[in-house]
Symmetry: C2
Amino acid sequence: MPPSTDPVFGEPGRLTVEELQLATRNHGLPLEALRYPLTPAGLHYLLIHYDVPAVDAETWSLEVDGAVALPRRLTLEQLRARPRTTLAVTMECAGNGRALMDPRPLSQPWLHEAVGTAEWSGTPLGALLDEAGLDPKAREIVFTGLDRGVEGGIEQSYARALSLDDARRPEVLLAYEMNGQPLLPQHGAPVRLVVPGWYGMASVKWLSGLSVVREPFRGYQQERSYRFRLDPDEPGVAMQRIRPRALMIPPGIPDFFTRRRVLPMGPCRIAGRAWSGTSPIAAVEVSDDDGATWREATLEPAELGPWAWRSWSYDWQPRAAGEHVLCCRARDTGGSAQTDAPGWNVGGYANPAAQRVSVTVEG
Amino acid sequence: MPPSTDPVFGEPGRLTVEELQLATRNHGLPLEALRYPLTPAGLHYLLIHYDVPAVDAETWSLEVDGAVALPRRLTLEQLRARPRTTLAVTMECAGNGRALMDPRPLSQPWLHEAVGTAEWSGTPLGALLDEAGLDPKAREIVFTGLDRGVEGGIEQSYARALSLDDARRPEVLLAYEMNGQPLLPQHGAPVRLVVPGWYGMASVKWLSGLSVVREPFRGYQQERSYRFRLDPDEPGVAMQRIRPRALMIPPGIPDFFTRRRVLPMGPCRIAGRAWSGTSPIAAVEVSDDDGATWREATLEPAELGPWAWRSWSYDWQPRAAGEHVLCCRARDTGGSAQTDAPGWNVGGYANPAAQRVSVTVEG
C-alpha cells in the first residue's frame, strides 16, 4: 500500500490560484441547463486531469491484451462494425460539492454543477472481452487513456480498473458517439469507456488499451485518488456508484456577480432533475426555509431509462416577499439519501449536502 | 452620466466564492486546444452574464424597429433565406487576463484562456439596415438579447449599441450557425450578432431585437460596464477592438493541480496562435527566461482570413535542465503590442501582459 496523498486544504471562501486554474479549464453544467433532458454539446460537465490529448481517429486503435487467449488491436471502424447500443447516462464527477466542504480539499473546486446527461452510443464491452478469451485467473480489466501528466508526484497515463463482473455488465460501453455525434475531443475522442451509474472517473476517456490482469490494479487513480477517507492515513473505500442527488433550475433571474436570484411574488413552479447510480430515485423534497421544513416534489417517470436523471417539479407559493433559501434533496429506493449539512472526507468526494439557492421575492 | 460602479477588488491569490461561481459556469479554452484552427464545440470560451435563456427557434423572431421607415419582424427562416456569409472569427472576452491584475477586479476571473475561433455563418447586417430605411438622424443601433438579470443594482436585458458606421461594416453578421451547425444554446441560439475584431461583449447573443436610435445609447453594458478606466470616477473609454495577444500551447505534460509543465531535455517546438482586432499581427516573440530576452517566432500566413488568429511556432532548445519560464507576446502592424508586466484598470479589461508558462526540463 503506497502512502496516501498528503491532504492540503484551503481557507474558507478563499480559493487558490491553482483551484482557479482548474476551474477556468474544467467546467460544470450551468444549472439552468438542467432544463434540457439531454445536455447540449459544451454544457456537460468536464473534468480533465491532464491535457486533452491530440488523437488521430484514422490511425487510432485499441489494444486488448494481458491475460487473454487472443490479444488484438481494434480500429475505430472495427468497433463501429460491432453491435451498437445507445444509452442515456447521467454522469457526475466524484468531486461534486467539494468546494462546499470545510475544510475544503484542494482540487477541482466544484460547487453543485459537475453533472450532465448524454446519449452515448458504442459497443458493449462484455462480448469483446468474451471473444478475447479471458484467462481463468483474470481478475480485473485495466483501462488506460492517452492523457498523460503528473499527479501526486507520479508521472502517469490516466488509468482505472473494473472487476470482471463490473466490466461485463451489459450497460458498460466502449462509446464512440455522444448525442448522435462522434465524440468531441474533450469527451474522449475517438473512443472512451462509459460505465453507467458510476462516478465519472470510471469512464476512462481517450482509451488506448485495455489489459486483463490477474492481480488487483494498484495505479494512482485507483489506490490513492478517488477513495473515501475520513483520515488521510486510512486506505479508504473506492468511490464507485453515484449517490442520490437532486438539483433545481434556479428560479427567477440572477444577479451577475452574486448569482442571487430575483423573482416576482406569486406562484412559482420549481423544476429540476434527480438521479442515483445505486437504486431508482424514491423521492425528491423541497424546502423554502433553508431546510427547516420539507415537502415532497412531484417525480416524473424515468423517461430516459434507468441510467439517467428524472424530472421533478414543485409548485411553490412564496408565503411572503423577501429573502428565502430554497433547497432540494433526493433519496433512492436503496436507502441512500442526501443530508442537510455538508458531508466531509479527505478527498472531497460525493458531498451529500442539499442544494441551496438564495432568492429574493419582490413584493 | 450615471455614477460608475463601485470598484471591489480581491486579495491576491484568494479568489472569492462569487468568482468561483462564475468560473464554474463560464469557461475558457483549455490552452492545448489552441492546436485546433477552429475551436471544437464546447471548447470556445463562454461568458454569460445572466442565464442561458430558453428560446424556441420555431416561434422566435427578430424585431427591427426604432428610427426606420419600415419596421418589421424577421423569422429565422426569413433570415436564413437572405444572402449568407461565412467568416472565421477569433472572439475574446474583454476581461481576459483580469485575474492576473493586482489588485484584482472582482468579476469573471479569467487568466489567459477567454478566447476561441469559430466559423460563423449568417447574413450581413448592413443590407438589412438599408432595407429598413434609416432615418437621416439615426445614430446608433441598439441590440437587445433575451438574457435578463440584475447587474450594478439594475434589472436589465443584456443590450449593447454600435454606431451606424460600425454596424454597416460588411463583416458584421446576424449569425445562425457556428462551425456549420445551428448555434448551441450557450452561444446565442437561434441568432446572435457577430462583430469581428471586437471583444465579445459587442456580439450580443440570443438577439430579440435591434432598434435604431437617434441618441447615444446609455445602457449599463455601454456606459457603466466595458469601459477602460484608471479611476472609478472617470467616464472612461469604451472597450471596442481586440488588442494583440499571443498564446502558446503549453509544451510537455502538466501536473494535475499546479498545471506546471514537465518536458524532456532536447529540442522542443513551441506553437501557438496570435491575433489582433485592430491591425494584422506583425510579430510574435518568445522568451525562455521569464521575459529577460526575446526571440522572434515564425509567423504562418493568415490562413483563416483577416478576422481570425494566425499560427506561430518557435524551435526552442533548452540551454539546461531545470526550471524555465516561457513567455510569448505579440504586436500588430498598427503599433499595438503586449507588455511584459500586467496592465491594470478598474474593470480588469484587456490585460496586455505576456503569457507565462512555468516548465521543468528533465535532464
